[in-house]
Symmetry: C2
Subunit: 281 residues, 2 copies
């Protein structure tokens, strides 16, 4: 019996069938990779050292393993597989990213998620609907984004109050939501850790196009992890984490209308979020 067969067989008694399947396939693919690249002992030690450094970079406000999953395209692939089936009409999913680490503060519809002020004020309005266009009343919309300068609250604990750029909203009875904010900036993912070392060693840039994160959920519907990408942002065609989908690019258009709490003119993004029914296993 080869060591691969032995390792696969070691999981035979796993009570949870799904866990057994996943671990068996992890072993098979890891061993295939090892046989294919035939790492030297020094290269294997370097891989162990890299993973250890990734682990050491993680703390309450930093998730370096998600960052690693992101720059290898794994996160994008996972969210695409979990997004709405092709042809369902659902809004496409994309990566969660490493900054969904703290609970977003509950806010009322129309509130601002920006506590700092900024030059490019924006209004985001939208409606959560099902594939027939019927509203999803009371849908929960968890929103997080960086500042105009490209930093999340957890990256600037001295400068930004906790919860800046974040908000937990509930759509009204017609599925509508709205919040005030600033247009987020494009930004580099954190490069002061081992994932940054990887990007430098491979001559990859660390930039992500400007975006607002949305995590939208409602009973009976598949939870949607997605972004609103800001049309015209640099790096829309070269996202460091491979998360851009054309259908998720939204115009933050100049708007000169009267809106509560908005100085004119402001930027206005209006979106429709289509949730698909949850698959009952």
């Amino acid at each position: 019996m080869s060591v691969t067969e032995e390792a696969v067989a070691s999981f035979t008694d796993t009570p949870d069938e799904r866990l057994r399947t996943i671990l068996e396939r992890v072993v098979v693919h890891l061993h295939e990779l090892v046989r294919e690249v035939a790492p030297t002992t020094a290269e294997w030690e370097a891989a162990i050292g890299f993973l250890t450094a990734v682990g050491a970079a993680c703390d309450d406000t930093r998730q370096e393993f998600i960052l690693l999953s992101d720059v290898l395209g794994v996160s994008s692939l996972v969210e695409t597989l979990n997004g709405p089936p092709v042809g369902s009409g659902g809004t496409e999913g994309t990566v969660l990213g490493p900054f969904h680490l703290t609970a977003s503060p509950p806010r009322a519809l129309g509130d601002s998620i920006d506590d700092l002020g900024g030059g490019r004020r924006a209004l985001v309005t939208g409606r959560v609907v099902d594939p027939s266009g019927d509203p999803v009343p009371g849908a929960e919309i968890d929103v997080w984004q960086c500042t105009e300068d490209g930093f999340y609250d957890v990256q600037e604990p001295g400068r930004q109050p906790a919860g800046n750029g974040r908000g937990l909203f509930h759509a009204d009875t017609d599925g509508r939501f709205r919040f005030r904010t600033v247009v987020p900036g494009h930004y580099p993912i954190p490069t002061d850790g081992p994932v940054g070392d990887l990007l430098r060693a491979t001559r990859r840039h660390p930039y992500r196009p400007a975006h607002v994160h949305l995590l939208v959920s409602a009973p009976g519907f598949a939870t949607l992890t997605t972004h609103l990408f800001v049309a015209g942002s640099p790096y829309l065609d070269a996202d460091a984490v491979f998360a851009v989908k054309e259908g998720l690019v939204v115009d933050f258009a100049p708007d000169d209308s009267e809106e509560d709490g908005m100085d004119r003119p402001f930027r206005h993004a209006d979106v429709e979020v289509v949730l698909v029914p949850a698959v009952v296993p």
Copy 2:
């Protein structure tokens, strides 16, 4: 372009060709695994959480990523691939394990590596040779093992002096080496971390058969990472890390002869370590 093709293409400008190849193949196999098992977002988060916990369990005296590599059979496969080619006559390689963390104290031939004393005193003698049987004079032999109770020095900092069970030796001009020790015990790999959780969730036992680690090197020869497994030890047929090879099982036979520093009778293991020439890339 699929996200897999995009992620592979992102490494195109990597200056180090070997690194580029490895990363490309890592991406391909990781994406194949993801497409095959189609993890839910929650399962992906659980995988991130597991790796993060493995990272958090690592410190100066604990290497949980090596332990993970070990229980998945990856370490054994890597060492087999790096061991002597089939038919070369070289001694087989096996896993480094997670306990080669501290430098072994230099010791003179014949010294004891055991500072505690123990019931089953042993003498290990051997000769480092090339495939023709010619001696490899001055070969470096790095030795580490656990106590009779199955613990390495780094696991019992209060009870064992640092360096207990470890020794760095140099063979004499005839390639010969010898050291005194105790017969090591079989033992469970550490189960108080996330790898232990994995073993419990999959109903796997954590035991390794009794063994002495050897890391043997000499200029011009491929470095050999191997074990001497103690014949008759429990778990020789079910090593938790898949490291046993029949040719590495050694008799620690009762010996009643006169030996410096040994009370009679003692256990005696005599081994031949065959190094193969280094491959010049």
